[in-house]
Amino acid sequence: MIIEAHDLRKTFVAKQGRGKKEKVEAVRGIDLEVEAGEVFAVLGPNGAGKTTTVRMLATFTAPTSGTAYVAGYNVAKEPAKVREKIGYVSQAGGIDEIAPGIESLLLAARLSGMSRKQAQARADELLAAFSLTEIANRPAKTLSGGQKRRFAIAVGLVTAPPLIFLDEPTTGLDPQNRANLWDEVRKLREQGTSVLLTTHYLDEADALCDRLVIVDQGKIVAAGTPEGLKKEIAGDVVTLRVEGTEAARDLLAAQPYISEVHAEDDVLRAYLDDGEHGLPRMLRTLEEHSLSIQSISLDRATLDDVFLKHTGRSLRDAA
């Protein structure tokens, strides 16, 4: 187990002006178990407590209560030991804008104890691996978002740590750069590096991780593999708009082949295991009751449906 966290909590005291103080419970009891070699995702909307959780595990923020062991060391009591074992790439990246990217890389390498020669060799290796060699000497502020992000991850990997934290690694990247970054994460898994990443993109968690937790308002609402979580709610989802939403919901919920119906504003989402055969039956039933359909679509259930089931909101709205 490379990460073992039990009942992690973090409460911030936020100033509200004029001496007023408000307690903000950012993380309200999170348990995590991440196996060595896994790509583990923490999925949730903005403000769910993802970043605070990662910061506690990476020894940046001290937990208010709870315990966490990273690579076998207690994050609160042995932070120095933990820091030897991890790479941490924050949401902001942490690349010095004024200096060329290679400077950040070399400094990080030297700080970890490498000699000048070793640092240069390791930097060259990482520059090549992330296709950064040609832009290594350009001031970081002249680089694109994707290039900067690659530098940030290279810096995080400079000590070849067994575990790397990636906080929202693809936020703000265009689809091409996102796809490239996903490939980098997959390469890390092949090399045996454990990855804990946070994201608010459903498809990212779905495509990349071995296991995930879904967090909302500082708590875990669901945990498992992407497949397992989706299976829990039925395989397909029919999204439809009908005149007379209420009546349609009651009618559909009563159908034996439909496992669950959610109404959100005037949109109905009906979950069923066999959409291809269920859809015609639904159409017939609605027709028989003279409920006229405005639009209808059939999709595979996604992690958003998992989120919806557990929180009653769509992740797209929450984020």
């Binding site: 942490g94 400094l107 700080l111």
Partner: protein
């Protein structure tokens, strides 16, 4: 590890500086302009009106000006690094944390001493005469003042984390401190109440000690007082700024 990491951060900062070596030159424009255009006006305040005496009185003030003003703004760069993730990354790296600040401080002091040597050089061209031991002591005194002002600035930067707030606070403190220190004209020319307030301003001792050194008076009491004050103040502000690093995470 402590020394190694400090040197690594110092080296990093110096390389950044060398990529853009013109900025510190702007920093010395102010004292140089004062020397050229303001010092000649002061001839009537010095008995005999000799330029050599004017320079001995005025140069220490203009040097303290760079030590104070230059260094008080040192923290501005750090505010950005509280947001762009650089400090966040360093805080969870294996770096010895005080080295993050001390490395920068040493860079600031090196720049300051180079600037001071330039200013003394210009004053010398204008007729200032100063012995080598006195000059070394003056530079050390400036270094001590600069260390204090810069570590105060880093502490402020890490505490306020706001460029606007920071520039207001720095202006708020810098102006009265320089006026009450007698930076341009010795406070001994002023009324008694001014001289009394000045005794509570650490900068006053630095300026007075500087004047004594420029006069070649190594036995002046203000010299040890100034050094002791700034060593203690630097230790305090440095501790504060390193502690402020810890509060970054909230």
């Amino acid at each position: 590890m402590m020394v190694r990491h400090t040197m690594l951060f110092l080296g990093y900062e110096l390389r950044t500086l060398l990529r853009n070596p013109v900025w510190p030159l702007f920093g010395i424009m102010q004292p140089v302009l004062y020397l050229l255009f303001f010092a000649p006006l002061l001839r009537s305040t010095v008995p005999g009106g000799k330029m050599t005496d004017v320079l001995a009185m005025f140069t220490p003030g203009s040097m303290m000006m760079i030590a104070l003003f230059g260094s008080m703004f040192a923290g501005f760069g750090l505010i950005n690094e509280t947001r762009n993730g650089v400090l966040e990354r360093l805080a969870v790296s294996q770096a010895w944390r005080p080295a993050i600040i001390i490395g920068r401080l040493l860079k600031d002091v090196i720049v300051l001493i180079l600037q001071a040597i330039l200013v003394i050089g210009i004053a010398a061209l204008m007729g200032l005469r100063i012995g080598l031991p006195e000059m070394i002591l003056v530079l050390l005194l400036m270094a001590a003042t600069g260390l204090f002002a810069a570590s105060l600035s880093y502490g402020l930067a890490l505490t306020l984390r706001d460029e606007n707030g920071m520039s207001q606070v720095v202006q708020f403190f810098a102006m009265p401190l320089t006026l009450i220190a007698g930076l341009f004209l010795p406070v001994s020319l002023g009324p008694e109440w001014l001289q009394t307030i000045a005794k509570f301003n650490p900068l006053y001792y630095a300026v007075e000690a500087g004047r004594s050194l420029f006069r070649g008076d190594l036995s002046a009491g203000t010299i040890p007082v100034a050094f002791a004050l700034f060593v203690v103040l630097t230790a305090l502000t440095l501790t504060w700024s390193v502690r402020s690093l810890r509060t970054l995470a909230g």
